[in-house]
Amino acid sequence: MSKIQIPLGPQHPALKEPENFALVLDGEMIVDATVNIGYNHRGVEKALENRNYIQDIYLIERICGICSHSHVSCYINAVEEIAKVDVPQRAKAIRTIVGELERIHSHLLWLGVAAFELGYDTLFMYTWRDREQVLDCLELLTGNRVNYGINTIGGVRRDITKEQADEILKKIKYLHERTSYYVGVVTEEPTFLARTQNVGKLPKNVALELNAVGPTARASGIEIDVRKDNPYFIYDQLDFKVITYNSEDVFGRAVVRVLEIIESIKMIEQILKNLPEGPVSVKVGWKIGPGEAVSRYEAPRGEDIHYVKANGTEYPERVKVRAPTLANFQSLPYCLKNGYLADAIITIAAIDPCMSCTDRAIVYDIKKGKKEVFDWEELRKYSIEFYRRKGIKFS
């Protein structure tokens, strides 16, 4: 049979969000793969410059539904570094608790989605039923099931009472038993093992070269975790391990994520048993002084980088977001080649793609035939020229 090219997406039942993977198939085997992104671009970075710092928190929260707290915490770390604010310990502890609860939520959701892509509906239904316990914990603490809104510049907005802490500890214990059961299912069910072992292989040197982050890299044996390399909040006082696995395939990524749930459960128990006392926020003014900062955070999908530049007014001058999925997309063409079409779906699902976080702008110049990335001044000149040619003048 000759080679046929099929487009996987942007509309496909397997993808949760639109991206396009152009696959060239020879029978069932994938010979070549290209990743085309950009379907979810919303102009978030430009919109952030017209709102003051407190309004920006809510816009950044909505870059992604699952990693919302990660994006906000990363942004607030950068802003507090510019404003030279000293956040109280209790606020940092509460932020860590919500961050770890979000990690449990994201990994349980991923386990269900991976089981669904494999046709394993039973595991999908069970993990999503147990996810409701985590969502109840978050609603108890923050007032909403997703898009928590618990961070503010200088601390957190709500405090934890003793009853809430006890309720969370009860639900966490239930989750601990259920996750141990899922570890058993993932490592012992023969059909699951047959679909995930030796699939989407990413050797360690290629992962280092292509800059994989998060559980994708940790499953190839690379031990990187921002919580250990560059600790923020109260991670330097907590006792936890960085989970790695050496199998370099989709099975390793599944095992790493399930074991990370158990580590997060242990971390939350440690924090809740010795919560530091004190106020939950300090007052910060409207204007953030001139300066710039870069901050990194370990989101459930990997390392998230935010850059903030402030110029002394109420509005930020530039905010740039680099989401972890953008780094993991670079390693996808390597994983997809020489695999089967049926494996392409689970390989794409195994890097846990969050397309909404990913899309920023790239300009393709058709006449010159090359891609370039514009910076702010060039983009502004280009857009003014574009509209002037159409006859619209801005003053």
């Binding site: 397997a14 046709g119 595991l123 069970y126 059909t191 679909r195 049926a342």
Partner: protein, 313 residues
């Protein structure tokens, strides 16, 4: 005059199209409701499969430009027609089927291959990339389960000494202890039927997450409703065939009691199909072929040798 009408009643009403359509709707509801209860959720109400069927036949049919219109529209009816002939040769309300002659087991097996060929032609005549991949997967899977299915029904044949389905059922009615001897090929036949019906774990051809609908991607409206009905009817017919060959049919009862026993035993076989669906994930197409040649074929051959030994002792 009764002689002239009876064939029409047999084919169209009982045990023909109308009875099979209603019974397969009931079995589909039991399948979905039982799966839902095992998943710890509520599941559909009893009229859901009928509602789905009625909704599908009222939708518009869109045919791709390059497709062959005559083949596209007529293939579902060919699938249903071949399955309806099979039910006439399987014991339904007594251990004497309506049509029986020596060698009808082979006719049954060949007739059951026709629906698979219609799936392949349906995907191929649609000429879109996803349906081409789906129809190739149908053919690849055919290499996997067809041989074990044939070998595993050959085992009880040798024991009973005849190639007719009704005679095999009568043999097991007289020697009930021989049912336990044939358990290995019972298991092989169950797994091969899962492949033939394209149910999890062997539903790679029309897997929704990988190839958008497989061989059924371009189908909509009435042809799709007929194809899905043909898959459900095939499930009931295969269950009754396995019941007749491995579990002794309806023993010595006739009439109403025989019919009731038939319903209970085919539901029991369908329950085993449902348990397989709940407990496993979908397996890749090349792994299906490897699995069946590595495990199912040796199991059936072992059963044939065992039966030969018992027969000649």
């Amino acid at each position: 005059m009764m002689d002239a009408i009876m064939p029409v009643i047999y084919i169209a009403i009982f045990p023909g199209f109308l009875f099979l359509a209603i019974y397969s709707t009931l079995i589909q509801w039991i399948d979905r409701k039982l799966t839902a209860v095992m998943h710890n959720r509520v599941g559909p109400p009893i009229y859901q499969p009928i509602a789905d069927f009625i909704k599908l036949i009222s939708k518009e049919v869109i045919i791709p430009d390059n497709a062959d219109v005559l083949m596209f529209k007529s293939l579902p009816y060919i699938a249903i027609a071949s399955i309806l002939v099979v039910i006439l040769m399987v014991p339904v309300y007594s251990n004497d089927a309506i049509i029986k002659f020596s060698g009808d087991l082979i006719v049954v097996i060949y007739l059951l291959t026709i629906p698979t060929v219609t799936f392949f032609l349906a995907g191929w005549s649609s000429t879109s990339p996803y349906s081409t991949i789906g129809s190739m997967r149908v053919m690849t899977q055919l290499f996997g389960y067809e041989v074990p299915l044939f070998l595993s029904v050959a085992g009880p044949c040798i024991l009973a000494g005849s190639w007719s389905v009704s005679d095999i059922a009568k043999y097991f009615t007289e020697h009930p202890s021989m049912i336990l001897v044939n358990i290995p090929s019972f298991i092989a036949a169950l797994l091969a039927s899962q492949g033939k019906l394209e149910r999890v774990p062997f539903d790679a051809p029309h897997a929704k997450n990988e190839v958008v609908g497989g061989q059924f991607t371009e189908y909509s409206g009435r042809p799709l409703a007929m194809f899905l009905l043909s898959i459900d009817i095939e499930m009931v017919v295969l269950a009754s065939l396995i019941n007749a060959i491995f579990l002794g049919g309806v023993f010595n009862f006739t009439g109403m009691i025989g019919f009731l026993l038939f319903l209970i035993k085919t539901t029991f076989v369908c329950l085993i199909f449902i348990l397989f669906k709940v407990a496993m994930a979908r397996v890749r197409v090349d792994q299906v072929v490897k699995f069946s040649w590595k495990y199912l074929v040796p199991l059936s051959i072992f059963q044939i040798l065992l039966n030969l030994y018992i027969k000649l002792k």
